[in-house]
Symmetry: C2
Subunit: 253 residues, 2 copies
Amino acid sequence: MSAILDSFDNISKAAPEPIYQQIKKIIQQRVTSGEWPAGQKLPSENELVSALAVSRMTINRALRELTQEGLIKRVHGLGSFVAEVPRHASLIELQDIALEIEADGKRHRARILSQETISASVEIARQMELPTASRVYYLCAAHYQDDLPIQLETRYVNPAAMPEFMDQDFSRITPTAYLLQQFKPDEMEHRVRAVIPRREERELLAMQSGQPCLQLTRRTWHQQQVVTHVTLTYPGDRYELGARYATNEYQLR
Amino acid sequence: MSAILDSFDNISKAAPEPIYQQIKKIIQQRVTSGEWPAGQKLPSENELVSALAVSRMTINRALRELTQEGLIKRVHGLGSFVAEVPRHASLIELQDIALEIEADGKRHRARILSQETISASVEIARQMELPTASRVYYLCAAHYQDDLPIQLETRYVNPAAMPEFMDQDFSRITPTAYLLQQFKPDEMEHRVRAVIPRREERELLAMQSGQPCLQLTRRTWHQQQVVTHVTLTYPGDRYELGARYATNEYQLR
DNA sequence: GTAGCATACTTGTATATACAAGTATAGCGG
DNA sequence: CCGCTATACTTGTATATACAAGTATGCTAC
C-alpha cells in the first residue's frame, strides 16, 4: 500500500483550490485513469492522513463527497472501495458529447449548420431571462459518431456572459467543452421529453419516418445569469440517457 | 428572527438519527411547509448554533448538504436563503406519482392490471441479478390524473427483499410509496429513452397513433440486492421529466 | 474443532477552535 | 454629496480531538 501512497502528488496548502477538492481530484484521477480499478480498496482515512499530511476531517470530507457522487463506496468498519459501476451520469454531470463518443473508441465530428447573432424571440428571451428581442448568439450543429448522426444541438448563448463565443471554431472544440472551459456553472436545469422530430431534424439525424427522438433541454446559470439554453435531440433508437448514483442523501419529498 | 428560532423542535443528541440529519429535516420541513418561502433568509449558522445548541460544524454540514441538494442557496459573506426554484427533481429523487399529482391539486387513481408471481425471463433475471427462472413478483398498473391516464407502471420485485409485497392493496397505496415506506434504497439506476408504444400501451394511455412515449427504467438496490426493477411509460405529449440542481460538486469527467 | 471473546482497524459523527474571505453598512473626511 | 475606511457579520475551510459503532481476525476456553 505504501507504494501507492508514496506516489501521491503534493497537496498545496496555500492554493486557490481548497485541500479537499485537491484530494478529490487526485483520487478521481487515480480511478478514471484505471490505476485504481473497480473494487480496489482505497487507502484508509488514517493512511491518507499520514500520506498527505492533512487532518482526517479533510480526508473524510473528500471521501464523503466522492461517495455522494458515486465514484467510491464506503462500508462502515471495513474501508472505502472504488465503485463497481462506472456511473454513467449524463443527466447529472455535464457531459461533453465528444468525450463521450471518444470514450467509446469512436470518432467524433461536428458539422456547424448555423452560427449567427439573432434577436431573441419571446420564448427564447423568457428562457434566457433577457428582454425580448435581445441580441443572442445562436448555434446549430450536428454531431456524428463515426459518420452516423447522433445528436442535434440547438444552442442560444447570452453574449453578456460569453462575449467571445462567436469567435470560436466549433468544428475544433465542442460548444459544451468551450463553455466548461470558460467557467463552471453554478446551477443547471434539465428537461427531458419524447417528441416526433420535424422533417428537417429527421433528415439530419438520418432517421426513419415515425421514429421518436429524445430531447434534452438544458439551461445553465453562472452568477445569476442564464449563460446558455441548449436543446439536444437524439435519435430514440440510437441513444438513451442514464444515470446511476448512491442515494445517501435523497429521499421522497 | 428569534420567534422563528424559539419554535425549533428539539434535537435529540442520543438518537438513532445523526444530528445533522435531524437539522436537515427540520429545515426541509420549514421550507416544504411554506413557512419559509422562496428567497427567505435562513438563520445564520451562529444563530442556529445558539438555537439548537450544537456545534457550528454540524450546522455547516447540514446546510452544505441542503445546498448540494438544491433546497437552499448560500452566498459567501451574506447568508443562506431558501432556493427560488422549488427543484423538480424527478430524475434524482424518487418521486411518488400520487404525491406528484396531488401536489398539482389533481386527483390520483391507480388501476391494477396485473399482480402475480411469475418466473423471471432471462432478461428480467439479468436485470434483477437473480438466477434465470427465479420467482419474482410482477405488477402492472395504470396511473390516472383526474381520469386521464398519465403513467404505465411495469414492476418486478425481488421476493427476498420484499416478502410482503403481494399482500398489499395497491389501489390504496402506490407501489413506490410502499417500497419507500419499507426502506430507503442505497443506490439506484435510471435509464431514459423515447419509444413508440406498443398498441396495447397506446390504448391504455389513450394516445393517438404515432405519438411517442417517454420511458424511464429504474432499478433500486438495498444491501447489495436489486429490490425492484420498474419501467414507467409516459405519454410524450403529456409529461416531461425535469431536474434542477446546484452544481457545486459536479464537473466534466 | 468450535464457539465466543478480545482486539485492532475501519468509517461515522460531533465538538471546539481558528483563520480566511466575501458582503453590507455606518461613519468619517474631504 | 461623494468616496473611502473601519467594522461587524456572514459563509468557507482546516485542524485536533473524541467517542461510537461496524467488521474481521486471531486467540482462548471448552
